[in-house]
Amino acid sequence: MKTFFSEIRGAIVLTIMLAVVCCGLYPLVVFGFAQVLFPGKANGSLIVDTKGVIRGSSLMGQSFTADKYFHPRPSAAGIGNGYDPTSSGGSNLGPTSKKLADSITQNISDYRAQNGLATNVMVPADAVTASASGLDPHISLRNADLQVARVAKARSLDEAKVRALIQQNTDAADLGFLGDPGVNVLKLNLALDAVK
């Protein structure tokens, strides 16, 4: 019985100690370093326009449906067009899901129609499938490329100009080999809007 109570005491004291050290001091120390060293990133890599309005985060995708914008990937995060950071997540539909096959069928035909593609053009996978987070800020290079004509036409811009903007808003692989390159849709679209 004596050991029982001494162990209980140890457990309770240690729980409190760990709460103070690991849950109190530790995040504060990290908070301190983060806010001093990387204030922008620590606060969400927010994109603020010239008027001081927060337009989003460079790390978060946003919904775009108009022809003049590059379209992000389909999203399963939240209602409507998705891209709700408070309900992140994927479709979680499996390989033999009819629902998934149906939605991909729909997405493919929409994608082809929007971008004037023939029915034998294979559609980039990322353009018709939902991402894991539903907030994927990127689309693949080929996906962006296939949308260039549409966007350029809607904005009466030179396609080369649009391609240049794509180039500028492409996140290359880290250190040249880590990960896959992707085009940041929000940044690209804001850049397009900024073009006079």
């Binding site: 927010l46 946003q62 950071p85």
Partner: protein, 638 residues
């Protein structure tokens, strides 16, 4: 399977090799009460203070029963603590979103989940948990459960290394030292590095961003109590519109469709309840904020895996760049890999440590290659619809990670008992999803959860040594210690518990309404969802075929029990085995003892893991991912 992907794989393995020895050496200092570290100046006073407040004599060691008892007591107390905080979060500070109390079953599930290092999340953090709940009630376990795992592993390694003794270390000392000297310092550095990649670390309320392109969508109408307003409508089906002659009406050669009420046997229209929908204008995006980096660092390093956000490491803030992704994967493996070195060093047989490591890496590579191949090959059903074959299966994956880093992460997170995900396993191809499921079913012994991976692997080592020892004609010995019926009994008990916990619960769910109600997919994939849930819970992994709606009282309770069994009923027999091993004498090696290192041993261990550990799950897997694979090839949909 591009060449840069191969390069990434090589760099990952290379980096792991490089950190294994330093980590192992450092663990040797941390897990020795008299060990010295660079952080002594900072933490030594704190360590002494902690012991004094706890009333612990750091010099006094425990035998296996005292050690296990202390561990159970600590787990119980800290679990109750978390449960209390979750239930009372609405009365506690740091709740800027004003979340209500967590429901009893969810709080039970979550408290158990974090105590057991599982971090299964039936909830989505960003819409359920207050900052205090996230920061304190949950994060405390990210440290503590990891430290407990490492402590148990250290106790068992000591039991193997020592001889003719009784004690295997002091639980409290192991726990405190691991937390202060190992986890905290690494986490501080790691968290700041993660922030440099774009991870958030603040205490602000969620930010509202103005959408560039606002839109309107339909949402269910809610009444005052927040319940959806329902209405009774006639069920209709579409059928071709017929003209007076009974011929289909065509426009441009296509039949015109009309809604026709469905009638029941009595000719009455069938009615159903549907939610009343209203328009809602979406003008803003709510950007999640909070102390994320500090939580993510320990969630990876401690192989906890509980995400800050629902999408876990796929959530852009939680894993902003491929570099952060790489570091997170490396950190998942770092301590587990270092522990194999620690094992070799403690038992004075470094090649044994590396052999165990090699065996793990062979299985790791097998998993990565299969998963990566299956995901790059993609889904033939979708490809027939017009999805580019070269892109592979991108459903549930992020562009910045692509196929390879998603497959690698899925393998790493399930080899270890981490359970963080950067892609949705539920949407993997059948064989791609088979890999994470199978990895967990092996007992997460491929590097494994911090500590848990090593002690799980040692169970297989004991079994391998036993069978092989017989085959060389001697009473089997492991590093000079005889493996006798008690050790076999405890090892097999652990195996049996693993199998019962996974198969028993999954089978129950498969034929229960509560089980099937949560499914997001029909057909074999639905079975995989349930199997994955209980596999993940038992293995204390925490990843999921996340389509499963597990936030129901039934699932929350059964999964919590499954997690408790998978953690503590595994540890107790293993600790009993440690208690038996520490008492044994060490027989010096002779030409009659086969070496527990080298190629033969690796193959032997591999064979034991696959034959003894995995065969049990094949029939269930055959009905899940295996059958699904063949159905995918035939284009069958559910």
């Amino acid at each position: 399977m591009h060449s840069t992907d191969w390069l990434q794989l090589a760099v990952f393995i290379g980096a792991l090799v490089l950190i294994t020895k330093p980590m192992g050496l450092y663990l040797g200092q941390v897990l020795d009460v008299k060990g010295r570290t660079w952080f002594d100046f900072l933490f030594k006073p704190l360590e002494r203070l902690t012991y004094r407040l706890m009333g612990v004599d750091s010099e006094k060691e425990h035998d296996w029963k005292q050690y296990t008892f202390a561990m159970l007591m600590f787990s119980l107390v800290s679990c109750v603590f978390t449960y209390a905080v979750l239930r009372l979060q609405n009365h506690l500070p740091l709740n800027p979103q004003g979340f209500g109390p967590v429901s009893p079953d969810l709080a039970f599930n979550t408290a158990v989940s974090f105590t057991t290092n599982t971090n299964w999340q039936s909830y989505s953090g960003e819409s359920t948990m207050s900052y205090l709940s996230q920061m304190v009630a949950l994060v405390i376990h990210n440290f503590a459960s990891a430290a407990v795992g490492i402590a148990i592993a250290a106790a068992i390694v000591r039991a193997i290394a020592r001889h003719s003794g009784k004690t295997i270390g002091n639980f409290w000392v192991d726990l405190v030292r691991t937390t202060y000297y190992l986890l905290l310092p690494i986490c501080v550095v790691f968290a700041v590095v993660l922030v440099s990649q774009g991870m958030i670390q603040n205490f602000k309320p969620y930010t509202k961003a103005k959408l560039t392109e606002p839109y309107t969508t339909q949402v269910p109408k809610l009444d005052d109590k927040g319940q959806a307003v329902m209405t009774n409508v006639v069920v209709t089906t579409q059928s071709a519109k017929l003209d007076a002659q009974g011929k289909p009406v065509l426009t441009n050669g296509v039949a015109v469709m009309v809604d026709v009420p469905t009638l029941d046997a009595k000719g009455q229209p069938v009615m159903t309840n549907v939610a009343v929908m209203v328009d809602q204008k979406i003008e803003e995006q709510t950007i999640v904020q909070g102390p994320m980096a500090s939580q993510v660092a320990i969630k990876m390093l401690g192989t906890n895996g509980g995400g800050y956000a629902n999408a876990n490491a796929a959530f852009p803030f939680e894993n902003p760049t491929p570099l952060s992704n790489f570091l997170q994967m490396l950190s998942i493996f770092s301590i587990g890999s270092g522990l194999t070195y620690y094992l070799g060093r403690m038992v004075k047989n470094q090649s044994h440590g590396w052999s165990v490591w090699t065996c793990m890496m062979v299985m790791f590579l097998g998993g990565v290659l299969l998963c990566w191949w299956a995901e790059s090959k993609g889904n033939p059903i979708h490809q027939n619809l017009g999805v580019a074959v070269a892109d592979g299966n991108m459903e549930g994956k992020e562009v910045r990670f692509g196929i390879f880093n998603s497959a690698l992460f899925a393998t790493v997170t399930t080899d270890a008992s981490c359970g963080a995900v950067n892609s949705m396993h539920d949407s993997f191809t059948a064989l791609g999803g088979f890999v994470p499921l199978f990895n967990i079913q092996l007992g997460e012994i491929i590097i494994g959860g911090v500590g848990a991976g090593l002690y799980g692997m040692l169970v297989f080592v004991v079994l391998a040594v036993f069978i092989a020892g017989l085959m060389v004609g001697r009473t089997p010995e492991y590093l000079g210690k005889k493996i006798q019926s008690f050790e076999i009994k405890m090892a097999m008990l652990a195996m049996l518990i693993l199998a019962i916990d996974i198969l028993g619960f999954a089978a129950w769910a498969a034929v229960s309404d509560w089980g099937k109600a949560g499914l997001n997919n029909a057909g074999p994939h639905g079975l995989s969802e349930m199997l994955y849930a209980f596999t993940s819970a038992t293995g204390n992994n925490g990843s999921a075929f996340a389509g499963l709606s597990a936030n129901t009282p039934w699932y929350n309770t059964t999964l919590a029990i499954s997690m408790l069994i998978g953690r503590f009923l595994m540890i107790v027999p293993i600790m009993a085995m440690a208690g038996s091993l520490v008492r044994k004498k060490i027989a010096p090696p002779s030409v009659g003892t086969f070496p527990v290192s080298g190629g033969t041993f690796v193959i032997l261990l591999l064979g034991t893991v696959l034959l003894v550990g995995a065969l049990n799950f094949l029939p269930a897997l055959a009905l899940g991912p295996v059958v699904e694979h063949f159905l995918t090839l035939q284009g069958k949909l559910f």
